[in-house]
Amino acid sequence: MRARYTWRAFSRELIFLALAAFFCIPFYLLFSIALKPNSELFTSPLSFPTSPDLGNFSEAWKGQAGVGLGRAMFNSLVITVFTVAILILIGSLCAYALARRPSRLSNALYFMFVLGIIIPFQLGIVPLYVLFRKIDLIGSYLGMITLWVGVSLPVTVFLYTGFIRALPRDYEEAAQVDGAGVLRTYLRVVFPLLRPVTGTVAILTGLFVWNDFFISLIFVSGSDRVTLPVAVYAFVGEYFTQYNLVFAAVTIALLPIMIFFVFAQRQLIRGFTSGVRG
C-alpha cells in the first residue's frame, strides 16, 4: 500500500530543506568571498560576486612566506597519511595485546592510555618542544609524525580495545587450531575483522591531524614543512588581511577532504555501521 503524500509530510520536508539550506550558508560565504575581487569585499560582503575573480585561487596557491599551498598540502598529506597508518598498526596491535591478555599489567597500561585521553596534550607542549629541539625534530616530517602518533595513540588504543573485547574469540581460536601462528592470526584474521573500528580511527585521527593548527604552528612554523592550516594563516597579516585570498586558500584546503568524502562516503558509512558477521 502506498502512503499518501500529506500536507504534514510536505511541511516536514520544507522544514528539513530550510535546515539543509541553513547549513549551506557557510559554504556560500566561503565560495562567494573566495571569488570576490578586493574592491567588492567590503562594499557588499554577503552578495554573490558581480564579476567572479578566479585569480584569487592562483594567488592563494602561490602562498605566503615562501611556502606555496601545493607544498603545504603535500606536507599535510604526508604527515596525515603516515600518522594514520602508524597509528592503525601500533594502536591495533597494542589494543589486541591489552584486550586478549588480561592481567594487572595490562589493566594498568590501559588505565594509562585512558589518562592520556583525559589529560590535555597542550600541558606537555613546552617540554615536548624543548625535547624535540634538542633531538633536532622541529620542522621535520619525522618529528610531526612522532608527535601525532603519541598524541593520538591513547584514543586509538581506547577505541580498538573496546572493539576487540567485544569480538568473539572463536575466530582466533579457529585460526590457531587451523595452524596459524600469532602473527598470521592477527594479520589474516583479527585485523580484517577490525575494519569498522579502523575506519573510525582513520577518520577521527586523520581529520584531527589534517585540521590541526596549534601543534603545527609551534613545531613546523617557519620551516618548509608547514601544513595547510599554518599556510592559510600566513595570509592573515598583523595590519592588513586579504580575506578573499584567505577564503580562496581555505577553499583549496577543503577540497581534498571533500573529494575524499564524496568518493569514500558509502564505504565509510558501511564501515561505521557494520559489525562482524559470519
Binding site: 568473539p168 572463536d170 575466530y171 581460536e173 579457529a174 585460526a175 590457531q176 587450531v177 587451523d178 595452524g179 596459524a180 601462528g181 598470521r184 589474516r188 584474521v189 580484517p192 575483522l193 575494519r195 562482524v276 558477521r277 559470519g278
Partner: protein
C-alpha cells in the same frame, strides 16, 4: 589418524571452579566418540583441552603417542568445528577452506586441488566465491566441515556443530557427518548435549556430569545398562520412568512394593536390598499394553495420550512415591524448570510414559494394566544413585 587419551585429566579455573575432574578416557584410532551431558558438565572444556585452547591443570592428554599438554594448538594436527562455525567472515568459502593449507605453506596448485575436491565432496563447488554471510546455516556448517577435512588431520573435534540448525536440517546433517566420518575414518570427538544426537552418531558415548565421567560405552549399552540414575534418565526420549519401591518378601519370593501394588521381580537378585527402599526404572517401550497371563503388571490410570503416527505415548498415573534425587532434578531442570518444580511437589503419585501401538487408544481416566518384564526393570540405590545388579 591417532588415538586420543585422557589420563586423570582435570581442569580448575583460576576462580577455583573445577570443570573436569580426573577424566580417564581412551578414544581409539578412527573411533567416533560422543561426549554428552547437560550444560556445564565439562564436555566442551575436555574437548578444548584436546585442541589446546584450554590449559590442562592435572593429568595428561595424549594424541597418538605424543603428550599434548604443552603443545601449541597449531602443532597438534587436530581440526575443530565450532558451535557457531567460526568461519572467517571476510574470506570467501574458498579462502576459508584453504586457510589451514596456507598455514602449512602448501603449493598454490595443491591448495586449489584439495579445496576443489573437498568442496565437491560437500556439495559446495558453486559457492566457493561466496562469503559466509551469504550462505544458509546448512551451507555454513558444510564449510566448517570442509575447513576441518581439507587438512586430513589426525582427529576431528566437534563442539555442538548442529545446535544452530533447525530440526530437519539437523537430522540431515547428522547423517552426513556420520557417513563422512566413516568414509574418512578419522578419530572424532563430538560434543553435544542432545542425547538423540549422541545415540545416533557415536560408536561410543561418554556421559559427563559436573566434570565427572559417569559412564562410557556403545550407545545401546548405555541405554540398556545405565550405570546410575543420571545416565538412566539422561539417555532416551522420553526418559526412563522412575518410581520408588520397597523390596519385600511375600510367599517366599521377593517383590517390589509400589504403592499398594506388588510387582513380582522373579529372577532378579535383590537379596541385598531386602526391606530397603530403592528407585525402580523402566523404559517407556518396556511397558506393554498387552499383559500376558502370569506377567507382572502395574495398574494405572490414563492421564493423556499422544499419537505419533506409528505409535502412541500413554501418560498414565501410578500410585507411588516419585524419585526426587539431585540427578533426576538436574535432568528435569535441563528439560524445563517447571518440570523439576512439579517433580519436587509430587507425592504419592507418579506419571509414567508408555510407548504403545497406535491402535491402542484408551480415553483419559480409563484404568489400564501395563505389563512388565522383570528383566527390563532397572534398580538404583536411592542414596548413591548407582545401579543395583
Amino acid at each position: 589418524m591417532a588415538s586420543i587419551t585422557f589420563e586423570s585429566v582435570g581442569k580448575v579455573y583460576p576462580d577455583g571452579t573445577r570443570a573436569v575432574d580426573s577424566l580417564d578416557l581412551e578414544v581409539g584410532d578412527g573411533e567416533f566418540m560422543v561426549l554428552v551431558g547437560p550444560s556445564g558438565c565439562g564436555k566442551t572444556t575436555a574437548l578444548r583441552m584436546v585442541a589446546g585452547l584450554e590449559d590442562i591443570t592435572e593429568g595428561e592428554v595424549r594424541i597418538g603417542e605424543t603428550v599434548a599438554n604443552a603443545l601449541d594448538p597449531s602443532r597438534r594436527d587436530v581440526a575443530m568445528v565450532f558451535q557457531n562455525y567460526a568461519l572467517y567472515p571476510h574470506m570467501s568459502v574458498f579462502d576459508n577452506i584453504a586457510f589451514p593449507l596456507r598455514c602449512r605453506r602448501l603449493a598454490r596448485t595443491e591448495i586449489r586441488e584439495r579445496v576443489e575436491k573437498t568442496a565437491g565432496v560437500l556439495g559446495l563447488s558453486e559457492y566457493l566465491r561466496r562469503k559466509p554471510g551469504a550462505l544458509s546455516g546448512g551451507q555454513r556448517q558444510r564449510v566448517a566441515m570442509g575447513r576441518a577435512i581439507v587438512r586430513e588431520p589426525q582427529a576431528f573435534l566437534m563442539d555442538e556443530p548442529l545446535s544452530n540448525l533447525d530440526a530437519k536440517l539437523r537430522v540431515q546433517m547428522r547423517a552426513e557427518i556420520s557417513s563422512l566420518q566413516r568414509e574418512l575414518g578419522v578419530t572424532t570427538i563430538y560434543v553435544t548435549h542432545d542425547q538423540v544426537e549422541a545415540m545416533t552418531m557415536g560408536t561410543r558415548i561418554a556421559v559427563m556430569r559436573k566434570g565427572v565421567l559417569q559412564q562410557e560405552g556403545p550407545p545401546q549399552e548405555l541405554y540398556d545398562q545405565p550405570a546410575n540414575l543420571f545416565v538412566a534418565t539422561f539417555m532416551g526420549s522420553p526418559g526412563m520412568n522412575l518410581f520408588r519401591a520397597r523390596i519385600v518378601e511375600s510367599n517366599g519370593a521377593l517383590h517390589c512394593a509400589v504403592g499398594d501394588q506388588q510387582l513380582d521381580v522373579a529372577g532378579r537378585s535383590l537379596d541385598a536390598c531386602r526391606g530397603r527402599e530403592i528407585a525402580v526404572g523402566i523404559r517407556p517401550e518396556d511397558l506393554s499394553a498387552q499383559v500376558e497371563e502370569g506377567q507382572p503388571a502395574l495398574e494405572t490410570t490414563v492421564v493423556l495420550t499422544e499419537t505419533l503416527g506409528a505409535e502412541r505415548l500413554l501418560h498414565v498415573g501410578l500410585q507411588a512415591e516419585p524419585v526426587v534425587t539431585d540427578d533426576v532434578l538436574e535432568i528435569a531442570k535441563d528439560i524445563d524448570a517447571t518440570v523439576a518444580s512439579d517433580l519436587e511437589h509430587e507425592s504419592h503419585h507418579v506419571t509414567l510414559v508408555a510407548r504403545v501401538d497406535a491402535s491402542f487408544g484408551p480415553t483419559p481416566g480409563a484404568k489400564v494394566s501395563l505389563g512388565i518384564k522383570p528383566q527390563k526393570l532397572h534398580f538404583f540405590d536411592l542414596e548413591t544413585g548407582s545401579v543395583i545388579r
